[in-house]
Structure formats: C-alpha cells, structure tokens
C-alpha cells in the first residue's frame, strides 16, 4: 500500500467516521433504549452534585454595584389572560397564594400578608439555560417559612408550583425537591431591584431557586403543592419544559 493511497484511505475513513458519528448521535437520541442511557446523565450529575457538595451551600450574593444595569425579560412577559389581567388591574389586592397538597394546614395567603412576612433580600445571579446571566436583587419570604407554616407531611417529596402564564393552553408549572424547597435562598420574591415585582418579571411573585437554572425560577406563581410523586403532574417529569422538550428536571448544571 503506497503512502498516498493509505493517506487518502485514512482521510476518507476519518471523514466518513465523523459523518457517521454525527448522524449516529441523532439516531441514539431517537432510539428509546439508547435515549435512556443518554438521559441517565441527569441522574448521575444530580447524584454527584448531592454527594460532593454541601446541600446547604449558598449561591454567591453580590454587591449592589455588581448588579446588571438592565435585567432582561425572558419567557412570558405578560400572561395576558382575562383572570390575570383582572388581578393585575387591582395590583393583586385580591390575589391569594394557595398552599396545599400533602400539608396538614392548607394556607391561602393574601398579597398583603405575604409582604408582611419576614423576608430575605438577596442579590444573586440568574443563569439562563441558554447561557446568559443577569444579576438582580430579590426580596421575599423564604419558601421554607411558608412550607413550615403549612406543616408539610412526611410523605411529601416534592413541591410543585402552578403559574398564571399559559404555554400552548397549559399553565406553566415547575417542581423542586425538598432540599431546594427548604434552602434558605429559595424565596417567593415579591420585589425586585427595590421595586414591586413587575408583570414582565413575574408579578405578583416569582420563585427564586438560586442554585438552579432560570426555567426552574417560575414566574406568576399561583399555587404551591406538596406532593409525594411527580407522576401525576403534567406529563410526569415535573415541569413544563421537562415534559415538552426534555429539559433536565435537575437544572443545577
């Protein structure tokens, strides 16, 4: 075999191999058994993160001068449904946060009562799954305070958030495990950057989960439910994007 021929053969093999590998990747993602292996990365990464890191570690909090000059709006900028518009027109005076599911004391908290609760202020970084980040100041009660007041039953494993904004006719929903739900930086923010939370950023309240990506930080939260399993929620994967486009439920990476 001459050097030129073997060189050409190697180059051809390499190019064909690369092409096969590229299209092979798409085949893998579309084959149920292989897709399962591909999707196992989420569980491994979740397990590793829980095993290697302190569950109570706090996300970095920034100084006021480190905040983004302009915090971009993403996702829904206005739910614009008849019921939401009615609530917004009253400045959410008659809005109530419903807390239920596997709790011993279901709660219905008014906007006024929520704003009167002990609150946490944190200047944190919002990391979108797309790659951009913005730093903003969030203010609101810790979710843990509310869950303790509702007395979550020991059978509960997850907390589900149901929102006012619709995606193809369905209310947006997200969920957390109890570690992140009770994390001190997980708050229901009703103020942002020293002002009342705007409609574009999720009024009346937006969930802040500082150790996970943006899509976990649900806007326009209406209901909080403690559940034992995510099986009955939406299509069973625990969130709108998780159910519809295969985003990881664990968005800590």
């Amino acid at each position: 075999m001459s050097a030129i021929i073997s060189r050409r053969a190697l180059l051809t093999t390499g190019a064909l191999g690369a092409g096969a590998l590229l299209s092979g990747c798409d085949q893998v993602a579309n084959t149920p058994s292989l897709r399962k292996i591909l999707f196992s990365g989420e569980k491994i990464n979740h397990g590793l993160a829980r095993a290697l890191t302190d569950r109570n570690s706090l996300a970095k909090e920034y100084r006021p001068d480190q905040m983004s000059p302009l915090f971009r709006v993403n996702g829904t900028s206005n739910p614009n449904t008849a019921s939401y518009n009615a609530m917004a027109a009253e400045n959410f005076a008659n809005w109530r946060l419903e807390v239920g599911g596997l709790v011993n004391r279901p709660l219905s908290i008014s906007h006024q009562a929520l704003m009167a609760m002990p609150a946490r202020t944190q200047i944190t970084r919002h990391d979108c799954v797309e790659g951009w980040s913005a730093i903003g100041k969030w203010h609101g009660p810790m979710l843990g305070t509310i869950l303790k007041a509702a007395d979550v039953r020991t059978t509960a494993r997850y907390v589900v958030f149901t929102c006012a904004d619709l995606y193809s006719g369905h209310a947006y929903y997200e969920s957390l495990d109890l570690i992140d739900a009770f994390h001190p930086q997980t708050i229901l923010a009703w103020a942002m950057n020293d002002r009342m939370l705007s409609v574009a950023h999720g009024a009346p309240i937006r969930l802040r989960v500082e150790r996970q990506l943006g899509y976990k930080n649900a806007k326009y939260v209406m209901r909080v439910d403690a559940v034992a399993s995510l099986a009955g929620i939406g299509l069973g994967k625990g969130g709108y994007w998780e159910d519809r486009v295969d985003y990881d439920w664990y968005a800590g990476i």
Binding site: A59, S68, D127, E130
Partner: protein, 252 residues
Amino acid sequence: MTDTSPPDSTNAPAAPGSALYRHRLTTRLWHWLNVVTIFIMIGSGLTILNAHPHLYWGQYGANPDHPWFNPPHAPSFLTIPAGYNLAIARRWHLLFALVFAFGLLAFMVSSLINRHFQKDLRIRLKELAPAHLWFDLKEHLAFRFHDPKNPGAFNIFQKLSYVLVIFVLIPMMILSGLVLSPTMVAAWPWMLDLLGGRASARSVHFIAASGLVLFIIVHLVLVILAGAWPEVKSMVTGWWTIPVDHDQEEAA
C-alpha cells in the same frame, strides 16, 4: 500487564523500518475515548453556543450587555443534534462531560504511576534553549519529525503541545464548565473567583475549546505529514514502525 512497561528509549537507536513499542494501553484507550468524547463535546457545545451566541467578560452577561465576541452561527452539519435542540445537546454535553473529566483523572493517575509523564513529557531546560527550539522548528519545516538517534522520543513541540493540552486546556475546560453549574459554583465559590465570574468562565470555556480545536487540526495535519498509517497503527496497537527518513530515502 505487560502494557504498563514503558517504551524503551534508552537503548541504541532503532533502525528505520523496525518497530518500536511507543504507546501504552492507557494512553491508547484515553486517546480513542477522547476522539469520541471531544467530538461529541464540540458538536453539542456548538448547539449550546447557538442558543446564545454572545460572549462577555465579568460576573454577568446578557443581551443588554456588551459582548466582546459574537461567534458566527454554527451550521447544522457541525452540531449535535443536527437540528437545533438545546435540551438534547445539553444531555449529550453533560453526560460526556463526566466521561471527559473522569477520563482525564484516570489518565493522569495512570500516567503518573506508569511514569509516562515523567519519562516522555518532562521538558528539560536545555530543550527550551532558543537554539534548540530554532533547530527543531527548522526540522519541522523540513518535515523531519523524529530524532534519528532517539526516534521514539517526543520532540520539544510535541512535548509543549501535549503538556498544554493535558495540563492546561482540558483542565481549563473542566474548571470553566464546572463554574457554569449554579449548584457546583455555590458549593465551591473559589472556582468563580478564580475565573472572574460566570460570563468570564463561559468565555474561557469557549477559548479553551477553540484551543483544543486548533490543537486537533494541527495534530491531524502532522499525523498525516509524519506518516498517517504508521502513526494511526501505533495508536491502535502501540507499535510504531520507524519511518524511513526522507533524506535517507533520497540517498538510497
């Protein structure tokens, strides 16, 4: 395991045409694992970059902020998956990130134990002397890549580029990748401080990846110039047939 025995470069020079045991099993395994892993990481990484093709410096960076670079849209024949799907690209990227990181760890540990690093990659001061660098550069430009007296040894440019890849570029990929994880960086905030913020980490991730791509291109070109078939064979079997020098070929 016979494969852990180091290649013997201290004996009398092997004659051109004879075979030399050059690459240990662990080196070969890691090499081919990386061929697949880096291929997947770059393809899926390009899809992720397409989701927000702007790079910034500092703690934050989004559309209202000033990017230092707007990389061009990666075409679908380069991305994994071919059609834009950020969720699937992330599945590939975050699964193979584990293979990439733990693969490097395993290779580093095994290469310290079998002394591959100490014997083959250690850079001696005299190799960095300008005269030596200049000599090796001229040899490269003349397409003479092997020292006839010690054909199995890496030349200084090989050493420098392998050291750069193993100890700088890949560790930097892993570190900057970890900083992009909000959970990991909450637990290990020193990583964030080291890279100067998340937006900076994303830029470093891109630059280190570009460095790796550049390395791969140069590596492939040099493999072809140095004799594609013996080089590939040696990375598969471990045995390398010492090429006949061009000058000797002409003289013969």
